[in-house]
Amino acid sequence: MTQLRTWLTADTPSSRNHARAIQAYLSWRALASNPLTVIGLLIVIALVVFALLAPWIAPRSPIALDLTQRFIPPGAEYWFGTDEFGRDILSRVLYGARVTLYIVVLVAVTAAPVGLLVGTVAGYFGGWADVVLMRVTDIFLAFPRLILALAFVAALGPGIENAVLAIALTAWPPYARIARAETLTIRSSDFIAAVRLQGASGTRIILGHVVPLCSSSMIVRVTLDMAGVILTAAGLGFLGLGAQPPLSEWGAMVSSGRRYLLDFWWVATIPGLAIFTVSLGFNLLGDGLRDVLDPKSS
Protein backbone atom coordinates (compact mmCIF):
# COMPACT_ATOMS: atom_id res chain seq x y z
CA MET A 1 0.00 0.00 0.00
CA THR A 2 2.69 2.48 1.00
CA GLN A 3 4.71 1.28 -1.98
CA LEU A 4 1.79 2.07 -4.28
CA ARG A 5 1.45 5.49 -2.69
CA THR A 6 5.12 6.32 -3.25
CA TRP A 7 4.75 5.17 -6.84
CA LEU A 8 1.68 7.38 -7.28
CA THR A 9 3.29 10.49 -5.82
CA ALA A 10 6.71 10.15 -7.48
CA ASP A 11 8.21 13.38 -8.81
CA THR A 12 9.80 11.70 -11.79
CA PRO A 13 7.41 9.41 -13.65
CA SER A 14 9.15 6.61 -15.53
CA SER A 15 6.67 6.09 -18.34
CA ARG A 16 3.68 7.63 -20.05
CA ASN A 17 1.20 5.52 -18.09
CA HIS A 18 2.98 6.24 -14.84
CA ALA A 19 2.65 9.98 -15.51
CA ARG A 20 -1.06 9.53 -16.24
CA ALA A 21 -1.56 7.46 -13.10
CA ILE A 22 0.07 10.15 -10.98
CA GLN A 23 -2.12 12.85 -12.52
CA ALA A 24 -5.24 10.76 -11.95
CA TYR A 25 -4.23 10.02 -8.37
CA LEU A 26 -3.58 13.70 -7.59
CA SER A 27 -6.91 14.72 -9.13
CA TRP A 28 -8.63 12.00 -7.13
CA ARG A 29 -7.03 13.21 -3.92
CA ALA A 30 -8.13 16.77 -4.63
CA LEU A 31 -11.64 15.52 -5.39
CA ALA A 32 -11.80 13.33 -2.31
CA SER A 33 -10.66 16.12 -0.01
CA ASN A 34 -14.08 17.78 -0.31
CA PRO A 35 -16.70 15.82 1.67
CA LEU A 36 -19.67 17.26 -0.27
CA THR A 37 -18.12 16.10 -3.54
CA VAL A 38 -17.66 12.63 -2.09
CA ILE A 39 -21.34 12.58 -1.10
CA GLY A 40 -22.29 13.62 -4.64
CA LEU A 41 -20.02 10.98 -6.11
CA LEU A 42 -21.50 8.29 -3.83
CA ILE A 43 -25.03 9.24 -4.88
CA VAL A 44 -24.11 9.02 -8.57
CA ILE A 45 -22.32 5.69 -8.04
CA ALA A 46 -25.37 4.42 -6.13
CA LEU A 47 -27.59 5.42 -9.05
CA VAL A 48 -25.40 3.47 -11.46
CA VAL A 49 -25.17 0.41 -9.21
CA PHE A 50 -28.90 0.30 -8.46
CA ALA A 51 -29.77 0.79 -12.11
CA LEU A 52 -27.45 -1.98 -13.29
CA LEU A 53 -28.42 -4.43 -10.57
CA ALA A 54 -32.15 -3.61 -10.41
CA PRO A 55 -33.37 -7.04 -11.68
CA TRP A 56 -31.35 -8.78 -8.96
CA ILE A 57 -31.81 -6.50 -5.98
CA ALA A 58 -35.42 -5.45 -6.50
CA PRO A 59 -37.49 -7.54 -4.02
CA ARG A 60 -40.53 -7.79 -6.32
CA SER A 61 -41.57 -7.20 -9.89
CA PRO A 62 -42.08 -3.47 -10.62
CA ILE A 63 -45.10 -4.13 -12.81
CA ALA A 64 -46.90 -7.04 -11.16
CA LEU A 65 -50.32 -5.85 -9.98
CA ASP A 66 -51.77 -7.06 -6.71
CA LEU A 67 -54.98 -5.22 -5.94
CA THR A 68 -55.21 -6.82 -2.51
CA GLN A 69 -52.04 -5.01 -1.46
CA ARG A 70 -52.99 -1.44 -2.43
CA PHE A 71 -51.68 1.59 -0.51
CA ILE A 72 -49.69 -0.26 2.13
CA PRO A 73 -47.60 2.30 4.02
CA PRO A 74 -43.83 1.91 4.22
CA GLY A 75 -42.94 -0.82 6.67
CA ALA A 76 -41.05 -4.03 7.23
CA GLU A 77 -42.59 -5.90 4.31
CA TYR A 78 -42.79 -3.11 1.76
CA TRP A 79 -39.95 -0.75 2.67
CA PHE A 80 -41.30 2.10 0.57
CA GLY A 81 -44.94 0.95 0.61
CA THR A 82 -47.16 0.12 -2.37
CA ASP A 83 -49.09 2.22 -4.88
CA GLU A 84 -52.67 2.29 -6.12
CA PHE A 85 -52.25 -1.02 -8.00
CA GLY A 86 -50.42 -2.72 -5.15
CA ARG A 87 -47.02 -2.51 -6.88
CA ASP A 88 -43.93 -2.37 -4.70
CA ILE A 89 -42.61 1.23 -4.76
CA LEU A 90 -39.05 0.21 -3.81
CA SER A 91 -38.84 -2.04 -6.87
CA ARG A 92 -40.37 0.63 -9.07
CA VAL A 93 -37.87 3.24 -7.82
CA LEU A 94 -34.98 0.84 -8.47
CA TYR A 95 -36.18 0.11 -11.99
CA GLY A 96 -36.90 3.81 -12.44
CA ALA A 97 -33.18 4.43 -11.82
CA ARG A 98 -32.52 2.51 -15.05
CA VAL A 99 -34.70 4.89 -17.03
CA THR A 100 -33.05 7.91 -15.42
CA LEU A 101 -29.55 6.57 -16.04
CA TYR A 102 -30.48 5.72 -19.62
CA ILE A 103 -31.64 9.29 -20.25
CA VAL A 104 -28.63 10.85 -18.54
CA VAL A 105 -26.10 8.71 -20.39
CA LEU A 106 -27.79 9.14 -23.75
CA VAL A 107 -27.93 12.93 -23.40
CA ALA A 108 -24.33 13.08 -22.19
CA VAL A 109 -22.90 10.98 -25.02
CA THR A 110 -24.85 12.77 -27.74
CA ALA A 111 -25.08 16.42 -26.70
CA ALA A 112 -21.63 16.96 -25.15
CA PRO A 113 -19.46 15.66 -28.03
CA VAL A 114 -21.58 17.45 -30.64
CA GLY A 115 -21.36 20.73 -28.73
CA LEU A 116 -17.64 20.30 -28.12
CA LEU A 117 -16.91 19.57 -31.77
CA VAL A 118 -19.07 22.38 -33.16
CA GLY A 119 -17.64 24.88 -30.67
CA THR A 120 -13.98 24.01 -31.15
CA VAL A 121 -14.24 23.90 -34.95
CA ALA A 122 -16.05 27.24 -35.05
CA GLY A 123 -13.61 28.80 -32.60
CA TYR A 124 -10.44 27.45 -34.16
CA PHE A 125 -11.13 28.14 -37.82
CA GLY A 126 -13.12 31.33 -37.36
CA GLY A 127 -14.38 33.17 -40.45
CA TRP A 128 -17.17 31.50 -42.40
CA ALA A 129 -17.07 28.25 -40.45
CA ASP A 130 -17.61 30.25 -37.27
CA VAL A 131 -20.49 32.32 -38.68
CA VAL A 132 -22.36 29.33 -40.10
CA LEU A 133 -21.87 27.01 -37.12
CA MET A 134 -22.72 29.62 -34.51
CA ARG A 135 -25.86 30.75 -36.33
CA VAL A 136 -27.01 27.12 -36.45
CA THR A 137 -26.25 26.98 -32.74
CA ASP A 138 -28.32 30.12 -32.16
CA ILE A 139 -31.27 28.58 -33.99
CA PHE A 140 -31.20 25.51 -31.76
CA LEU A 141 -30.74 27.69 -28.72
CA ALA A 142 -34.00 29.44 -29.57
CA PHE A 143 -36.05 26.23 -29.15
CA PRO A 144 -37.77 26.03 -25.78
CA ARG A 145 -36.86 22.64 -24.40
CA LEU A 146 -40.21 21.47 -23.09
CA ILE A 147 -42.20 22.80 -26.06
CA LEU A 148 -39.81 21.10 -28.50
CA ALA A 149 -40.20 17.89 -26.54
CA LEU A 150 -43.98 18.24 -26.76
CA ALA A 151 -43.71 18.78 -30.52
CA PHE A 152 -41.52 15.69 -30.89
CA VAL A 153 -43.88 13.58 -28.88
CA ALA A 154 -46.80 14.88 -30.91
CA ALA A 155 -45.01 14.05 -34.15
CA LEU A 156 -43.28 10.79 -33.21
CA GLY A 157 -45.41 9.47 -30.38
CA PRO A 158 -44.60 9.32 -26.68
CA GLY A 159 -41.54 7.38 -25.46
CA ILE A 160 -38.20 7.81 -23.74
CA GLU A 161 -36.23 7.92 -26.99
CA ASN A 162 -38.20 10.87 -28.29
CA ALA A 163 -37.87 12.65 -24.96
CA VAL A 164 -34.12 12.08 -25.00
CA LEU A 165 -33.90 13.30 -28.58
CA ALA A 166 -35.73 16.50 -27.66
CA ILE A 167 -33.51 17.06 -24.60
CA ALA A 168 -30.29 16.35 -26.50
CA LEU A 169 -31.24 18.67 -29.37
CA THR A 170 -31.70 21.56 -26.98
CA ALA A 171 -28.78 20.65 -24.69
CA TRP A 172 -25.82 20.90 -27.08
CA PRO A 173 -25.89 24.61 -28.07
CA PRO A 174 -24.71 25.92 -24.67
CA TYR A 175 -21.81 23.43 -24.82
CA ALA A 176 -20.88 24.71 -28.28
CA ARG A 177 -20.83 28.26 -26.98
CA ILE A 178 -18.62 27.43 -24.00
CA ALA A 179 -16.26 25.39 -26.17
CA ARG A 180 -16.02 28.19 -28.72
CA ALA A 181 -15.25 30.83 -26.10
CA GLU A 182 -12.52 28.65 -24.59
CA THR A 183 -11.12 27.80 -28.01
CA LEU A 184 -10.77 31.48 -28.84
CA THR A 185 -8.44 32.01 -25.90
CA ILE A 186 -6.58 28.73 -26.44
CA ARG A 187 -6.13 29.45 -30.16
CA SER A 188 -4.02 32.53 -29.56
CA SER A 189 -1.69 30.85 -27.06
CA ASP A 190 1.92 30.14 -27.83
CA PHE A 191 1.65 26.37 -27.53
CA ILE A 192 -0.86 26.35 -30.39
CA ALA A 193 1.46 28.61 -32.42
CA ALA A 194 4.28 26.17 -31.71
CA VAL A 195 2.36 23.15 -32.94
CA ARG A 196 1.21 25.08 -36.02
CA LEU A 197 4.85 25.82 -36.75
CA GLN A 198 5.53 22.10 -36.65
CA GLY A 199 3.17 21.76 -39.59
CA ALA A 200 0.29 20.13 -37.71
CA SER A 201 -3.10 19.95 -39.46
CA GLY A 202 -6.21 21.67 -38.15
CA THR A 203 -7.74 18.32 -37.20
CA ARG A 204 -4.68 17.35 -35.21
CA ILE A 205 -4.60 20.67 -33.37
CA ILE A 206 -8.30 20.59 -32.53
CA LEU A 207 -8.41 16.97 -31.39
CA GLY A 208 -5.01 16.77 -29.75
CA HIS A 209 -4.57 20.24 -28.27
CA VAL A 210 -7.82 22.20 -28.06
CA VAL A 211 -10.33 19.49 -27.15
CA PRO A 212 -8.37 18.16 -24.12
CA LEU A 213 -8.30 21.67 -22.64
CA CYS A 214 -11.99 22.32 -23.30
CA SER A 215 -13.18 18.92 -22.21
CA SER A 216 -12.62 19.41 -18.50
CA SER A 217 -14.91 22.42 -18.32
CA MET A 218 -17.28 20.46 -20.54
CA ILE A 219 -17.36 17.57 -18.06
CA VAL A 220 -18.12 20.00 -15.26
CA ARG A 221 -20.86 21.67 -17.24
CA VAL A 222 -22.45 18.38 -18.32
CA THR A 223 -22.42 17.08 -14.76
CA LEU A 224 -24.07 20.25 -13.48
CA ASP A 225 -26.62 20.12 -16.31
CA MET A 226 -27.56 16.54 -15.53
CA ALA A 227 -29.79 17.69 -12.68
CA GLY A 228 -31.71 19.79 -15.21
CA VAL A 229 -31.91 16.87 -17.64
CA ILE A 230 -33.28 14.58 -14.95
CA LEU A 231 -35.85 17.19 -13.98
CA THR A 232 -36.89 17.72 -17.61
CA ALA A 233 -37.22 13.98 -18.14
CA ALA A 234 -39.24 13.73 -14.94
CA GLY A 235 -41.36 16.65 -16.10
CA LEU A 236 -42.06 14.91 -19.40
CA GLY A 237 -42.91 11.73 -17.51
CA PHE A 238 -45.18 13.76 -15.22
CA LEU A 239 -47.02 15.10 -18.26
CA GLY A 240 -47.31 11.54 -19.56
CA LEU A 241 -45.03 12.22 -22.51
CA GLY A 242 -41.90 10.34 -21.45
CA ALA A 243 -41.69 6.71 -20.49
CA GLN A 244 -44.99 4.94 -21.03
CA PRO A 245 -46.70 2.66 -18.51
CA PRO A 246 -46.10 0.07 -17.27
CA LEU A 247 -42.41 1.12 -17.42
CA SER A 248 -41.61 2.74 -14.08
CA GLU A 249 -40.33 6.28 -14.43
CA TRP A 250 -39.93 8.62 -11.45
CA GLY A 251 -41.73 11.59 -13.00
CA ALA A 252 -44.64 9.45 -14.09
CA MET A 253 -44.75 7.88 -10.60
CA VAL A 254 -45.01 11.31 -8.99
CA SER A 255 -47.73 12.18 -11.46
CA SER A 256 -49.88 9.17 -10.72
CA GLY A 257 -49.26 9.37 -6.98
CA ARG A 258 -50.24 13.02 -6.83
CA ARG A 259 -53.93 12.12 -6.82
CA TYR A 260 -53.51 10.29 -3.54
CA LEU A 261 -51.05 12.73 -1.99
CA LEU A 262 -53.29 13.76 0.90
CA ASP A 263 -54.22 10.25 1.98
CA PHE A 264 -51.20 8.18 0.92
CA TRP A 265 -48.23 10.58 0.97
CA TRP A 266 -45.55 7.99 0.15
CA VAL A 267 -46.79 7.16 -3.33
CA ALA A 268 -45.71 10.50 -4.78
CA THR A 269 -43.13 11.51 -2.19
CA ILE A 270 -40.72 8.60 -2.54
CA PRO A 271 -40.07 8.91 -6.29
CA GLY A 272 -39.93 12.68 -5.72
CA LEU A 273 -37.19 12.17 -3.14
CA ALA A 274 -35.34 9.95 -5.61
CA ILE A 275 -35.40 12.74 -8.22
CA PHE A 276 -34.27 15.24 -5.61
CA THR A 277 -31.42 13.06 -4.33
CA VAL A 278 -30.00 12.23 -7.75
CA SER A 279 -30.21 15.85 -8.94
CA LEU A 280 -28.46 16.98 -5.78
CA GLY A 281 -25.80 14.29 -6.26
CA PHE A 282 -25.00 15.49 -9.77
CA ASN A 283 -24.85 19.11 -8.59
CA LEU A 284 -22.50 18.33 -5.70
CA LEU A 285 -20.27 16.24 -7.93
CA GLY A 286 -20.25 18.95 -10.61
CA ASP A 287 -19.20 21.62 -8.12
CA GLY A 288 -16.38 19.43 -6.84
CA LEU A 289 -15.22 18.59 -10.36
CA ARG A 290 -15.15 22.26 -11.21
CA ASP A 291 -12.78 22.93 -8.34
CA VAL A 292 -10.46 20.13 -9.47
CA LEU A 293 -10.64 20.37 -13.25
CA ASP A 294 -10.98 24.08 -13.92
CA PRO A 295 -7.73 24.97 -15.68
CA LYS A 296 -7.96 28.55 -14.45
CA SER A 297 -7.60 27.57 -10.81
CA SER A 298 -4.50 25.42 -11.27
Partner: protein, 258 residues
Protein backbone atom coordinates in the same frame (compact mmCIF):
# COMPACT_ATOMS: atom_id res chain seq x y z
CA UNK B 1 19.90 32.06 -45.55
CA UNK B 2 17.05 34.51 -44.94
CA UNK B 3 16.22 37.26 -47.40
CA UNK B 4 13.43 39.72 -46.66
CA UNK B 5 12.58 42.35 -49.23
CA UNK B 6 10.17 45.23 -48.61
CA UNK B 7 8.05 43.36 -46.05
CA UNK B 8 4.85 45.14 -45.07
CA UNK B 9 2.38 43.72 -42.56
CA UNK B 10 -1.07 45.25 -42.19
CA UNK B 11 -3.64 44.43 -39.52
CA UNK B 12 -7.27 45.20 -40.21
CA UNK B 13 -8.80 46.77 -43.29
CA UNK B 14 -9.83 50.17 -44.59
CA UNK B 15 -9.56 53.23 -42.41
CA UNK B 16 -8.74 51.34 -39.22
CA UNK B 17 -5.90 49.39 -40.83
CA UNK B 18 -2.65 49.46 -38.90
CA UNK B 19 0.61 48.98 -40.76
CA UNK B 20 2.67 47.22 -38.14
CA UNK B 21 5.66 46.72 -40.43
CA UNK B 22 6.43 49.16 -43.23
CA UNK B 23 8.79 48.01 -45.94
CA UNK B 24 11.40 46.14 -43.92
CA UNK B 25 14.31 44.59 -45.84
CA UNK B 26 17.26 42.62 -44.50
CA UNK B 27 19.43 39.56 -45.16
CA UNK B 28 20.73 36.98 -42.74
CA UNK B 29 23.71 34.88 -43.83
CA UNK B 30 24.11 31.18 -43.16
CA UNK B 31 25.46 30.57 -39.64
CA UNK B 32 24.91 34.15 -38.54
CA UNK B 33 22.96 35.47 -35.55
CA UNK B 34 20.90 38.44 -36.58
CA UNK B 35 19.24 40.64 -33.97
CA UNK B 36 16.05 42.61 -34.39
CA UNK B 37 15.80 45.27 -31.70
CA UNK B 38 13.07 47.70 -30.80
CA UNK B 39 10.54 48.74 -28.20
CA UNK B 40 7.03 47.38 -27.87
CA UNK B 41 4.94 48.19 -30.92
CA UNK B 42 7.98 48.63 -33.14
CA UNK B 43 6.94 45.64 -35.25
CA UNK B 44 9.92 43.41 -34.45
CA UNK B 45 7.84 40.43 -33.34
CA UNK B 46 5.47 40.93 -36.26
CA UNK B 47 8.40 40.49 -38.68
CA UNK B 48 9.25 37.22 -36.97
CA UNK B 49 5.67 35.96 -37.06
CA UNK B 50 5.32 36.81 -40.75
CA UNK B 51 8.57 35.01 -41.49
CA UNK B 52 7.55 31.94 -39.50
CA UNK B 53 4.19 31.72 -41.26
CA UNK B 54 2.06 32.49 -38.21
CA UNK B 55 0.81 35.71 -39.75
CA UNK B 56 -0.32 35.44 -43.38
CA UNK B 57 -1.30 39.11 -43.89
CA UNK B 58 1.91 40.37 -45.43
CA UNK B 59 3.19 41.69 -48.74
CA UNK B 60 6.73 41.79 -50.08
CA UNK B 61 9.15 38.99 -50.82
CA UNK B 62 10.76 36.51 -48.43
CA UNK B 63 13.19 33.68 -49.11
CA UNK B 64 14.63 31.10 -46.77
CA UNK B 65 17.44 28.80 -47.94
CA UNK B 66 16.80 29.87 -51.52
CA UNK B 67 13.09 28.99 -51.48
CA UNK B 68 10.52 31.71 -52.08
CA UNK B 69 7.91 31.79 -49.31
CA UNK B 70 4.19 32.03 -49.97
CA UNK B 71 1.37 32.81 -47.54
CA UNK B 72 0.97 29.09 -46.79
CA UNK B 73 3.99 27.07 -45.76
CA UNK B 74 4.89 23.53 -46.68
CA UNK B 75 5.85 20.81 -44.23
CA UNK B 76 9.40 21.05 -45.56
CA UNK B 77 9.50 24.71 -44.50
CA UNK B 78 8.54 23.83 -40.93
CA UNK B 79 11.33 21.28 -40.86
CA UNK B 80 13.74 24.01 -41.90
CA UNK B 81 12.58 26.86 -39.65
CA UNK B 82 11.52 26.55 -36.02
CA UNK B 83 10.75 29.08 -33.32
CA UNK B 84 11.23 29.57 -29.56
CA UNK B 85 8.70 31.79 -27.81
CA UNK B 86 9.01 34.37 -25.07
CA UNK B 87 6.80 32.99 -22.35
CA UNK B 88 7.88 29.53 -21.21
CA UNK B 89 4.64 29.26 -19.23
CA UNK B 90 2.45 29.79 -22.28
CA UNK B 91 4.38 27.89 -24.90
CA UNK B 92 3.91 24.39 -23.47
CA UNK B 93 0.53 22.65 -23.47
CA UNK B 94 -0.47 22.36 -19.79
CA UNK B 95 -1.87 18.81 -20.19
CA UNK B 96 0.97 17.33 -22.25
CA UNK B 97 4.04 15.65 -20.78
CA UNK B 98 7.50 16.63 -21.98
CA UNK B 99 7.56 13.32 -23.84
CA UNK B 100 4.34 14.18 -25.67
CA UNK B 101 5.62 17.65 -26.54
CA UNK B 102 8.82 16.29 -28.08
CA UNK B 103 7.27 13.26 -29.80
CA UNK B 104 4.51 15.20 -31.53
CA UNK B 105 6.64 16.97 -34.17
CA UNK B 106 8.20 13.59 -35.00
CA UNK B 107 4.73 12.10 -35.47
CA UNK B 108 3.63 14.99 -37.69
CA UNK B 109 6.63 14.55 -39.96
CA UNK B 110 6.53 10.77 -39.87
CA UNK B 111 10.01 10.48 -38.41
CA UNK B 112 10.80 7.17 -36.75
CA UNK B 113 13.09 6.23 -33.91
CA UNK B 114 11.02 8.35 -31.54
CA UNK B 115 12.43 7.10 -28.23
CA UNK B 116 16.03 7.71 -29.18
CA UNK B 117 15.32 11.12 -30.71
CA UNK B 118 13.35 12.32 -27.69
CA UNK B 119 16.05 11.21 -25.28
CA UNK B 120 18.80 12.80 -27.36
CA UNK B 121 16.85 16.04 -27.63
CA UNK B 122 16.43 16.16 -23.86
CA UNK B 123 20.08 15.38 -23.23
CA UNK B 124 21.16 18.10 -25.67
CA UNK B 125 19.34 20.80 -23.73
CA UNK B 126 20.78 19.54 -20.46
CA UNK B 127 17.72 17.77 -19.08
CA UNK B 128 18.13 14.20 -17.87
CA UNK B 129 15.79 11.32 -18.76
CA UNK B 130 13.96 11.87 -15.46
CA UNK B 131 12.29 14.92 -17.02
CA UNK B 132 10.79 12.97 -19.86
CA UNK B 133 7.40 12.18 -18.36
CA UNK B 134 6.87 15.33 -16.34
CA UNK B 135 4.15 17.88 -16.92
CA UNK B 136 5.00 21.56 -17.46
CA UNK B 137 3.73 22.53 -13.99
CA UNK B 138 6.44 20.32 -12.51
CA UNK B 139 9.16 22.35 -14.25
CA UNK B 140 10.77 25.72 -13.48
CA UNK B 141 10.75 28.54 -16.03
CA UNK B 142 14.26 27.75 -17.20
CA UNK B 143 13.50 24.04 -17.54
CA UNK B 144 10.39 24.84 -19.57
CA UNK B 145 12.40 27.03 -21.88
CA UNK B 146 14.87 24.17 -22.33
CA UNK B 147 11.98 21.91 -23.30
CA UNK B 148 10.78 24.55 -25.78
CA UNK B 149 14.27 24.67 -27.31
CA UNK B 150 14.38 20.87 -27.48
CA UNK B 151 11.00 20.87 -29.22
CA UNK B 152 12.27 23.36 -31.79
CA UNK B 153 15.42 21.32 -32.43
CA UNK B 154 13.89 17.84 -32.56
CA UNK B 155 13.02 18.37 -36.24
CA UNK B 156 16.67 19.30 -36.92
CA UNK B 157 15.96 22.71 -38.46
CA UNK B 158 18.63 24.97 -39.96
CA UNK B 159 17.07 28.25 -38.83
CA UNK B 160 15.88 29.09 -35.33
CA UNK B 161 13.68 32.14 -34.73
CA UNK B 162 13.99 33.37 -31.14
CA UNK B 163 11.27 35.68 -29.85
CA UNK B 164 12.56 37.24 -26.61
CA UNK B 165 13.68 33.79 -25.42
CA UNK B 166 14.99 34.95 -22.03
CA UNK B 167 13.09 38.11 -21.16
CA UNK B 168 10.77 36.38 -18.70
CA UNK B 169 13.56 34.49 -16.95
CA UNK B 170 15.77 35.39 -13.98
CA UNK B 171 19.21 36.69 -14.95
CA UNK B 172 21.07 33.62 -13.74
CA UNK B 173 18.73 31.38 -15.74
CA UNK B 174 19.05 33.73 -18.71
CA UNK B 175 22.79 33.13 -18.70
CA UNK B 176 22.24 29.35 -18.79
CA UNK B 177 19.77 29.55 -21.67
CA UNK B 178 21.97 31.95 -23.70
CA UNK B 179 24.98 29.66 -23.21
CA UNK B 180 22.88 26.69 -24.27
CA UNK B 181 21.73 28.46 -27.43
CA UNK B 182 25.31 29.46 -28.29
CA UNK B 183 26.53 25.87 -27.84
CA UNK B 184 23.72 24.41 -29.95
CA UNK B 185 24.43 26.93 -32.65
CA UNK B 186 28.12 26.00 -32.75
CA UNK B 187 27.43 22.27 -32.76
CA UNK B 188 24.73 22.33 -35.40
CA UNK B 189 25.74 25.30 -37.55
CA UNK B 190 22.37 26.93 -36.99
CA UNK B 191 21.29 30.34 -38.22
CA UNK B 192 19.60 32.43 -35.50
CA UNK B 193 17.26 35.35 -35.77
CA UNK B 194 16.79 36.93 -32.34
CA UNK B 195 14.09 39.44 -31.50
CA UNK B 196 14.54 41.29 -28.21
CA UNK B 197 14.34 44.64 -26.49
CA UNK B 198 17.46 43.90 -24.45
CA UNK B 199 20.52 45.40 -26.09
CA UNK B 200 22.90 43.56 -23.76
CA UNK B 201 21.50 40.21 -24.93
CA UNK B 202 21.85 41.32 -28.55
CA UNK B 203 25.41 42.46 -27.98
CA UNK B 204 26.21 39.11 -26.43
CA UNK B 205 24.50 36.88 -28.99
CA UNK B 206 24.48 38.60 -32.37
CA UNK B 207 26.83 39.36 -35.24
CA UNK B 208 24.66 42.02 -36.78
CA UNK B 209 21.45 43.76 -35.79
CA UNK B 210 18.68 45.96 -37.12
CA UNK B 211 16.91 48.55 -35.00
CA UNK B 212 13.18 48.99 -35.58
CA UNK B 213 10.97 51.89 -34.65
CA UNK B 214 7.29 52.36 -35.58
CA UNK B 215 7.36 49.57 -38.15
CA UNK B 216 10.51 50.68 -39.95
CA UNK B 217 14.07 49.45 -39.79
CA UNK B 218 15.85 52.69 -38.89
CA UNK B 219 19.37 51.33 -38.73
CA UNK B 220 21.39 48.22 -39.45
CA UNK B 221 24.73 47.83 -37.72
CA UNK B 222 27.36 45.35 -36.68
CA UNK B 223 27.67 44.38 -33.07
CA UNK B 224 31.10 46.07 -32.90
CA UNK B 225 29.51 49.34 -33.84
CA UNK B 226 26.90 48.80 -31.13
CA UNK B 227 29.63 48.19 -28.54
CA UNK B 228 31.47 51.35 -29.54
CA UNK B 229 28.22 53.29 -29.38
CA UNK B 230 28.72 54.17 -33.05
CA UNK B 231 25.02 54.58 -33.85
CA UNK B 232 24.08 56.84 -36.72
CA UNK B 233 20.37 57.18 -36.05
CA UNK B 234 19.30 59.29 -33.07
CA UNK B 235 16.73 56.68 -32.03
CA UNK B 236 19.38 53.97 -31.75
CA UNK B 237 21.53 56.29 -29.69
CA UNK B 238 18.68 57.04 -27.32
CA UNK B 239 17.88 53.34 -26.95
CA UNK B 240 21.53 52.61 -26.26
CA UNK B 241 21.77 55.35 -23.64
CA UNK B 242 18.61 54.24 -21.90
CA UNK B 243 19.89 50.66 -21.79
CA UNK B 244 23.06 51.63 -19.95
CA UNK B 245 21.19 52.39 -16.74
CA UNK B 246 19.42 55.30 -15.10
CA UNK B 247 20.91 58.72 -15.59
CA UNK B 248 19.01 61.72 -14.37
CA UNK B 249 20.23 64.16 -16.98
CA UNK B 250 19.68 61.75 -19.87
CA UNK B 251 16.13 61.00 -18.73
CA UNK B 252 15.26 64.65 -19.33
CA UNK B 253 16.37 64.60 -22.96
CA UNK B 254 14.24 61.69 -24.14
CA UNK B 255 12.17 62.32 -27.24
CA UNK B 256 9.42 60.35 -28.95
CA UNK B 257 10.28 59.24 -32.48
CA UNK B 258 7.71 58.64 -35.20
Amino acid sequence: MIEVENLTVTFGEGASAIRAVRGASFRVEQGETFGLVGESGSGKSTVLRALSGLNPDWTGAMKVDGQVLGQKRSKAFHKLVQMVFQDPYGSLHPRHTVDHVLAEPLAIHGMGDVDRRVETALAEVGLGPSFRFRYPHQLSGGQRQRVAIARALVLEPKVLLLDEPTSSLDVSVQAEILNLLQRLKRERGLTFMLVTHNLAVVAHMCDRLAVMNAGRIVEEMSVDELRRGAARHAYTLQLLNASLGYDRSKARELVTFE
